[in-house]
């Protein structure tokens, strides 16, 4: 009994803390449905369009024809019959999203291009490198591996300026490559580290069996390593996409002319320029910009959870 009480209390406290992390998200989500006027009145509160829409919906259902309020974006209000008010309020609630989508669409596209190119590049290069380091004995094998791993010890800020200079000398500023290439270079190190660890754990018998079956290195890599490494590949994919999606400083600095702003730098540009005072649009933009990562997370974590090698070997 005492034990249940104890664990129950601990769980409760943990749950509260877990929920606390959601507060900023909920706050932003809530405000993304409110108009600027509402936000200026106060940061908390149910979006007026929501409460009006609910009221209108109730009246429609009840057959009550009493007019319902519509809060226009310019701060004025008007009364309309429930059916019209319902329709108007719903489109008002989504208005912020329509506006912000138009603004951030090019940034989103740039982010997609950069993230996908980076992730594919990192997956390809690091998996080949990790396979080579893990499955081949050659002189200097360990030295090369430790050399790569040692790159993890340098914090990003330390390499920021030198990398910038390299990119500038290569004439890559204000291009996609200014982001893709350094991201690939940076993302590989940790990717090689965890992939090599994973490949080391794949049973040697499988590779020997493949060798006897007639597989060379390329075939072993394609037919054995890659299909069996879905869990670790998805981890690397998620990590790389998250970090390049969220990277702000680097694109902000290298994309100074603004043609290829990605979502993070683009949002900052919006927030510091024309839309500085339009909180409602910004909040909606923030929400929209987080959707791709959410979707990725849901899909890419699946193979992760499945125990993929279970059953092929005697435990």
């Amino acid at each position: 009994m005492m034990r249940y009480l104890q664990t129950g209390t601990i769980h409760l406290v943990l749950m509260v803390f877990a929920l606390l992390t959601l507060v900023p998200f909920i706050f932003a989500l809530n405000n993304s449905f409110r108009s600027n006027t509402e936000i200026y009145h106060g940061f908390f509160g149910v979006p007026e369009s929501f409460s009006n829409a609910v009221l209108a919906a109730r009246r429609v259902v009840a057959g009550d024809e009493t007019p319902v309020e519509i809060a226009e974006t310019d701060g004025t209000t008007r009364q309309a019959p429930p059916r019209e008010a319902l329709r108007e309020n719903i489109s008002l609630a989504l208005l912020n999203y329509e506006r912000s989508w138009r603004l951030i669409r090019p940034y989103m596209l740039n982010s997609f291009i950069v993230c996908i190119a980076t992730a594919l590049g990192v997956l390809l290069i690091s998996s080949v490198a990790a396979y080579t380091l893990s499955r081949n004995r050659f002189p200097g094998n360990r030295a090369v591996y430790y050399f790569i791993i040692s790159a993890m010890m340098f914090p990003g800020v330390l390499t920021f300026v030198p990398t910038y200079m390299v990119v500038r000398e290569l004439g890559l500023l204000n291009t996609y490559w200014a982001m893709i290439l350094p991201y690939m270079a940076g993302g590989q190190v940790f990717a090689i580290f965890i992939m090599k660890g994973f490949f080391d754990g794949l049973p040697e018998d499988l590779f020997e069996s493949a060798r006897i079956d007639g597989a060379g290195h390329l075939q072993s890599y394609l037919h054995i390593v890659l299909p069996l490494s879905k869990p670790v590949l998805s981890v690397v994919l998620i990590m790389n996409v998250i970090s390049s999606w969220n990277n702000f400083m680097w694109p902000f600095v290298t994309q100074s002319d603004g043609r290829f702003h990605v979502i993070a730098s683009g949002l900052f540009v919006l927030a510091t320029s024309a839309f500085a005072s339009s909180f409602s649009t910004l909040f909606a933009a923030y929400m929209l910009s987080s959707i791709p990562l959410l979707v990725l997370f849901i899909y890419a974590t699946r193979p992760f959870i499945r125990g993929i090698t279970s059953g092929a070997f005697k435990a």
Binding site: P203, D205, L206, E208, S209, A210, R211, I212, D213, G214, A215, G216, Q219, H223, I224, P227, L228, I308, T309, S310, G311, A312, F313, K314
Partner: protein
């Protein structure tokens, strides 16, 4: 022709560990040869060198008439069944079996035909769409064997394929592999540490110890004529009783007397000439458990029987294993179930001296 020949084969692992020393062996076409020995004896290393998975330090390996020292595994025309099955977990049974053929770019129809045929031989036709994790241990091992069969290789290599199966399944698979050999008529090299597997399956058995081939012989020859103490003790279950002692001449006959003096057995006349040279020298007498015979009258025959204390009685069904003590010397006897010896009671057994073995205690080689 899938004759396999090892010439002065040697393997030294990094750290100067000599796993295989100067192994010479000819495995004939269509022969089933079993490499057997305790763990670390070099049997698996030998097999892996034949497979091409392990580099050869010295010597030569021929498959057919080709020297294969530097031929990669895929070009050796061999197939191997691993102890851990080593099935590809992400592929279906069909794909597992077809993989080798796909890599070799066989036509699809041919692959289908071969896989189907192998699946029928092994009785796994209904499992072809499953993945390895949905199979039982025995089924997985069948798939592993099937993967080897479809390739129709010159030589099959088995690396302790049954040691992960439970006892009953092991016996069943044992006979199946033997049947397979009869059916496929190809050369098979089989590694095991289980002497029963070796005895029951092999046309010839290669007994190894510490990287050295001790004896190569058909099962019964190995059993009846072991070349040394190790082979004698390794082959046969329960193992041969080894009694240290010496030969003493008495009244014109040679007697074996053990160290405690509790055992005194007359050597057969036919052997006296051979044994005469060992008179008064340390010698080891090897008596197989079934060479200790039931003495119905329970009357001691001087020089031909032992009077032992029964310590443990193990009824096996068709026979009884007796664990005995004679003057501190532990002996195992295997007698029929007609009699019921009692624990802690003395029991007299005759010794079939004609069938026993003598070993030189210094060289551990068989005298006869």
């Amino acid at each position: 022709m899938a004759r396999v020949e090892l010439k002065n084969l040697g393997k030294i692992y990094p750290g100067n560990v000599e796993a295989v020393k100067d192994a010479n062996l000819v495995i004939n076409d269509k022969e089933f040869v079993v490499l057997v020995g305790p763990s670390g004896c070099g049997k698996s290393t030998t097999l892996r060198m034949i497979a091409g998975l392990e580099e050869i330090t010295s010597g030569e390996i021929y498959i057919g008439d080709t020297l294969v020292n530097d031929v990669p595994p895929k070009n050796r025309d061999i197939a191997m069944v691993f102890q851990n099955y080593a099935l590809y977990p992400h592929m279906t049974v069909y794909k597992n079996m077809a993989f080798g053929l796909i890599l070799r770019k066989y036509p699809k129809k041919e692959i289908q035909r071969r896989v189907q045929e192998a699946a029928e031989i092994l009785g796994i036709t209904e499992l072809l769409d499953r993945r390895p994790k949905a199979l039982s241990g025995g089924q997985r091992q069948r798939v592993a064997v099937g993967r080897a069969i479809v390739r129709q290789p010159k030589v099959f290599l088995f690396d302790e394929p049954l040691s992960n199966l439970d006892a009953k399944l092991r016996v069943q698979m044992r006979t199946e592999i033997s049947k397979l050999h009869t059916r496929l008529q190809s050369t098979m090299i089989y590694v095991t540490h289980d002497q029963v597997e070796a005895m029951t399956m092999g046309d010839r058995i290669v007994v190894m110890l510490d990287g050295i081939i001790q004896q190569v012989a058909p099962p019964l020859e190995l059993y009846h004529h072991p070349v040394n103490l190790f082979v004698a003790g390794f082959i046969g279950s329960p193992p041969m009783n080894m009694v240290k002692g010496k030969l003493v001449g008495e009244n014109g006959s040679l007697f074996f007397v053990d160290e405690t003096g509790a055992l005194k057995l007359q050597t057969p006349n036919s052997r006296e000439a051979t044994l005469a040279a060992y008179e008064n020298k340390p010698i080891i007498l090897g008596i197989r458990p079934e060479q200790l015979l039931e003495n119905r009258e329970q009357q001691e025959k001087p020089g031909a029987s032992i009077n032992a204390l029964v310590e443990v009685v193990e009824p096996m069904g068709s026979e009884i294993n007796l664990y005995l003590s004679v003057g501190g010397q532990q002996l195992t006897a295997c007698i029929n179930t007609d009699t019921q010896p009692e624990v802690e009671q003395p029991h007299i057994l005759d010794v079939d001296m004609e069938a026993t073995h003598f070993f030189d205690a210094n060289t551990e080689m068989t005298i006869y």
